[in-house]
């Protein structure tokens, strides 16, 4: 069976649902009694990507590299510092809250921290039903029924609609957030670690649900997660971020079979294997301090920890370039064509444990 996205691209390139170009978000750092700005956190520092209708773009990367910020900025929940965001070809970057309102229906988010994102004074049923009220979609009995149906879809019991967030477990709260995001049948959902609080069997249910809904409604997802097996499962393409930038972007098959960025390679090697008898793989230990987005290292941001770093990596910024069809990488190792597997220089920070 062909996915809708595949059908469309067979008929010629579809118009992307979302196009992001040169997106930046810098947070000022304020210190002292006068709150002087003493620097900036370059949380998202110039990223570009698109998502087609019915497509899932997975997003992975080191903790603190800017994934949540990217997701929230795309939805304009925080204002970008620079760059453009287009929804179905229409630029939404400069829209004021009033003009944004109708578009909000189409773009939803599932938050990373379910607890702090759910209003503790509202019942779970009202939390999930609130978007229906705000956007005048359904009221009264009809609303009740829709909320009950949403509860069932995400594996909660309709009688739990009357309970408050603190009465649920962590994974159950996450499902309330998912039900709320689904309430308005949006066309784009940014899922910020939407399944990491769930046990594997419910995680499987939710992932299957998300994939089903995608096929049914041609939904698009920006799917942020740490679990690479989950990302591999649900994504069509995957973006790997490091310190505010996308360092590799390709379809999932190439990413897992032929990672071309050293950070991606290290990331894949660190995935814990669910088999106690599995021989410990050669793990790539990233040595060196984790750099800070306040003072990112010059040249390639990754050079301070990269086992393959060369002299030029310390000064020259590698651009995100197309190394192979559909495979974008920012790394000097590939300047004269793709190199795979990555070369292993002497004294590389590898060790076996």
């Amino acid at each position: 069976m062909m996915t809708k996205a595949a059908q469309r691209s067979a008929e010629g390139r579809p118009q992307p649902l979302l196009e992001v170009d040169g997106l930046r978000k810098h947070f000022p750092i304020r210190r002292g009694v006068f709150s002087r700005t003493v620097g900036h956190v370059y949380a998202v520092d110039g990223i570009s990507f698109h998502i087609d209708p019915g497509e899932t773009l997975g997003m992975v990367g080191e903790s603190g590299c800017g994934k949540t910020t990217a997701g929230k900025t795309v939805l304009k929940l925080i204002e970008p510092t620079a760059g453009t965001i287009k929804l179905r070809g229409k630029e939404i970057t400069g829209l004021d809250p009033d003009s944004m309102r109708p578009l909000r229906r189409e773009m939803q988010i599932i938050y990373q921290d379910p607890y702090s994102s759910l209003n503790p004074r509202m019942s779970a049923g009202n939390i999930v039903g609130e978007p229906l009220t705000i956007h005048n979609v359904a009221l009264g009995k009809e609303k009740e029924e829709r909320v009950a149906a949403l509860f069932e879809r995400v594996g909660l019991r309709p009688h739990q609609m009357a309970s408050y967030p603190h009465e649920f477990s962590g994974g159950q709260r996450q499902r309330i957030g998912i039900a709320r995001a689904l309430a308005l049948s949006p066309s784009l959902i940014v899922g910020d670690e939407p399944v990491s609080a769930l046990d594997v069997s419910i995680q499987a249910q939710v992932i299957n649900l998300l994939m089903e809904l995608q096929d049914e409604y041609n939904l698009s997802y920006l799917f942020i997660a740490h679990d690479l097996a989950v990302v591999e499962h649900i994504s069509h393409r995957i973006a790997v971020m490091y310190l505010g930038k996308i360092v590799e972007l390709t379809d999932r098959q190439s990413l897992f079979e032929m990672p071309l960025h050293p950070y991606t390679e290290a990331l894949l090697a660190a995935v814990p294997i669910p088999d106690p008898k599995a021989k410990r793989r050669e793990r790539i230990i990233l040595t060196g301090d984790v750099p800070s987005p306040v003072t990112p290292p010059p040249g390639c941001h990754f050079h301070t920890r990269c086992p393959y770093a060369m002299d030029r990596c310390k000064t020259e910024v590698p651009e995100l370039r197309k190394i192979q069809p559909g495979h974008w990488v920012s790394c000097h190792l590939h300047d004269s064509g793709p190199m795979f597997p990555l070369a292993r220089p002497r004294n590389a920070g590898r060790s076996i444990d």
Binding site: S63, R157, G170, I202, N208, R252, R283
Partner: protein, 356 residues
């Protein structure tokens, strides 16, 4: 010795305990029952759970979301909100005392000191109006009596140990200024700063990427090797369990349904729920091989029963492929099905027959 071990040695006070031959049990949870008395009825969140942890050992706890893992952990520290929650039965033994019988004052000196906890949701346990450095140093002052200044130095050192970049300046930031994974690491730093004898880690790495997760798990292991810390590791990540735990407890609907060494559990699950759980793990590299098509993951059909009115008999029966009438009528006892491998199921034999 790696740089990190040295750093750890410096950061953790030199209070190494003598290593005895046979590791003794340091924490024993015995038939614990914690219920919530709500307007709709009684939620039997933890309904007769027992497990124990030995010195230097890591016990993994897994189970369906909502099955009572966190409530068990909170009960150990007596942090379940009362009302509506109440520990209605059982005992929790630590160093010869039943924690359930201590006064609140006695409990306070144990919490965060002898037994510390990494909470599942960082934002619920971090104070939004205090800087993270302040919060860690407060706990150090409280339990170790260091001066304000020394405590702050140690707090910064702990933040560095959990790989927070630019720890000295990050210490002056508020929780909302940090990313999800950084908040989680702040929690971890706080839990480790007082050299606990028992560390209860409730989903300590869900917000961390795999490289930092590996470093944090190494850090916990080093603490364990050095101080003999016993760790209760609650996690959904079966990969983390496989790599970190020596024994595993599987919970379902408020009860323990299986317990075994990590090798035995993965090789030969004796409870159908465990088998389903192991079958639902997404495995790296499998999807990419499936010629570019995304296949659904295998899942355990159905829903956990409502804790208000648990079914008669085995609580897993409504979802179980092996269930017979007997299962629906009588609750299966926890039995030693194989050497040191316990499960509560009437049909383990059939299950094992089918797996072989």
């Amino acid at each position: 010795m790696s740089i990190e071990v040295k750093e750890l040695k410096a950061a953790i006070d030199d209070t190494s305990l003598p290593v005895s031959g046979q590791a003794e049990t340091v924490l024993e949870i015995d038939d614990l029952r914690t219920y919530f008395f709500t307007r709709d009825g009684v939620v039997r969140a933890v309904d007769g759970v027992s497990y124990s942890v030995r010195r230097s050992e890591t016990v993994g706890v897994v189970g369906e979301s909502g099955c009572g893992k966190s409530v068990t952990a909170l009960s150990i520290l007596r942090l379940v909100a009362d009302p509506p929650g109440r520990i209605v039965g059982g005992a929790i033994r630590f160093e010869g005392a039943n924690l359930l019988e201590l006064t609140e004052h006695e409990m306070q000196s144990i919490r965060g000191n002898d037994i510390s906890m990494i909470f599942q949701e960082p934002m619920t346990s971090l104070n939004p109006v205090l800087t993270v450095g302040h919060q860690i140093s407060e706990s150090i002052i409280l339990h170790q009596g260091l001066s304000k200044r020394d405590a702050m130095d140690k707090a910064v050192e702990m933040l560095r140990l959990v790989h927070i970049p630019e720890a000295p300046s990050r210490a002056h930031e508020y929780p909302h200024q940090l990313s999800g994974g950084m908040r989680q690491r702040v929690m971890i730093a706080m839990a480790l700063c007082c050299n606990p004898k028992i560390l209860i880690a409730d989903e300590p790495s869900t917000a961390l990427d795999v490289t930092i997760q590996a470093q944090i798990l190494d850090l916990m292991r080093e603490l364990q090797d050095k101080l003999g810390t016993a760790i209760v590791l609650i996690t959904h990540d079966m990969g983390v369990i496989a790599e970190t735990a020596s024994r595993v407890v599987v919970m379902y609907a408020g009860r323990k349904v299986e317990e075994a060494s990590v090798d035995d559990l993965f090789a030969q699950p004796c409870h159908p729920y465990t088998k389903g759980l192991l079958g639902s793990i997404p495995r790296l590299g499998l999807a990419a091989k499936a010629d570019g098509k995304r296949a659904p993951l295998s899942e355990i059909a159905g829903m956990v029963p409502s804790l208000f009115n648990l079914p008669m008999g085995c609580t897993f029966a409504p979802r179980c492929a092996y269930a017979t009438d007997h299962c629906h009528e009588e609750s299966p006892p926890l039995e030693e099905k194989r050497p040191r491998h316990w499960a509560a199921c009437w049909h383990t034999d059939r299950l094992l027959g089918n797996t072989e």
